[in-house]
């Protein structure tokens, strides 16, 4: 498996999400892809535990993972969305924040939350997990 500089992604949400960690896989090994997905979910679980949060719901397939954490301040839900696209050989993990009315917010505008929950460390861990090295 080999990672290269990822070209621009037309599916990049660019706004309202949080951070993206992406990797470009030139060669796909199926067993390893599912392992990468599991590792991303594991990283998110470890981070939530470290922040005294618990994952309230998660789903996982060999190429996708979806996990939610409910937070009290600001009140809402953090959602980690990970997908691997075999056709484009790209993987992407995106963290979203939704307030209690279901609206999506830009994470960079919520500095207090980023600091409180150490989102930067999560970002670093997710980047490594997505690269699947």
């Amino acid at each position: 498996m080999q990672d290269l500089d990822a070209p621009p992604d037309s599916d990049d949400p660019r706004k309202g999400g949080g951070f993206d960690a992406e990797g470009y896989f030139q060669n796909i090994v199926i067993d390893k892809v599912s392992g990468c997905t599991a590792n991303v979910l594991k990283v998110f679980t470890m981070w939530s535990s470290a922040q005294s949060l618990s994952i309230t719901k998660s789903t996982q397939t060999p190429t996708a993972a979806l996990a939610f954490v409910t937070i009290a301040a600001p009140a809402g839900v953090l959602q980690l969305d990970y997908r691997f696209h075999p056709d484009t050989k790209r993987s992407r993990a995106t963290l979203f924040y939704f307030s209690n009315d279901g609206s999506k917010h830009e994470l960079s505008a919520l500095q207090a939350m980023l600091t409180q929950y150490k989102i930067a460390s999560l970002q670093d861990s997710i980047r490594i997990a997505v690269a699947c090295k």
Partner: protein, 188 residues
């Protein structure tokens, strides 16, 4: 290959319409030449000539009864000519028949080819092995809609949640997902 000429004698008969002419069917042979004439007693008679398929005897001459003729050795019987003609006709007919058969086979081949092309087009038009050009809702949109659905119960349990805020969340979910689901259902 040239063959030796054929010499033979025939009995001649007087033409009932013209006593100066003597007739024989042999005079009609192609390339026939008169080499000698004889009387009924075998005496050579000089003077008669072969002209226009008849032996012309000079007036006052002896009565010619026999004529000696020469024909080219490569003459073939009429039966052989007829056989060759029939053979040629058979070959011609066979050739025409083969041509007709070949034409028929080509026509059948063309018809089969046309049918194959027609079926191919039908397969393409029916889309039996080809996906429709419009794939409906993008997979990412469907995934986002699924995530929204799974998120809703969690939002209901958020600390300090209100009925109004939850109603707004439900409305957002419907607004985001309805069109996606319609597109997804439209492809089925």
């Amino acid at each position: 290959m040239s063959q030796m000429p054929l010499n033979f004698s025939v009995q001649v008969t007087a033409d009932p319409l013209d006593p100066t002419k003597l007739l024989s069917e042999a005079f009609k042979l192609p390339g026939v030449k008169l080499t000698a004439t004889h009387t009924g007693d075998g005496i050579r008679a000089n003077g008669p000539v072969l002209r226009d398929g008849a032996l012309i005897a000079p007036p006052g001459g002896v009565m010619v009864a026999f004529a000696t003729l020469e024909v080219p050795g490569d003459l073939v019987p009429q039966s052989a000519l007829d056989e060759q003609k029939f053979s040629l006709e058979r070959d011609k007919a066979r050739s025409e028949d083969e041509n007709r058969r070949r034409t028929l086979l080509w026509s059948v081949g063309s018809a089969v080819l046309t049918a194959v092309v027609t079926l191919g087009v039908a397969f393409i038009n029916k889309g039996w092995d080809v996906k429709p050009p419009s794939a409906g809702a993008p997979a990412d949109a469907v995934q986002a809609c699924r995530a929204s659905l799974k998120r809703l119960p969690l939002l209901a349990n958020v600390t300090g949640q209100t009925v109004q805020a939850l109603a707004e969340a439900i409305d957002r979910h419907e607004a985001d997902c309805d069109e996606v689901l319609v597109k997804a259902l439209g492809t089925r």
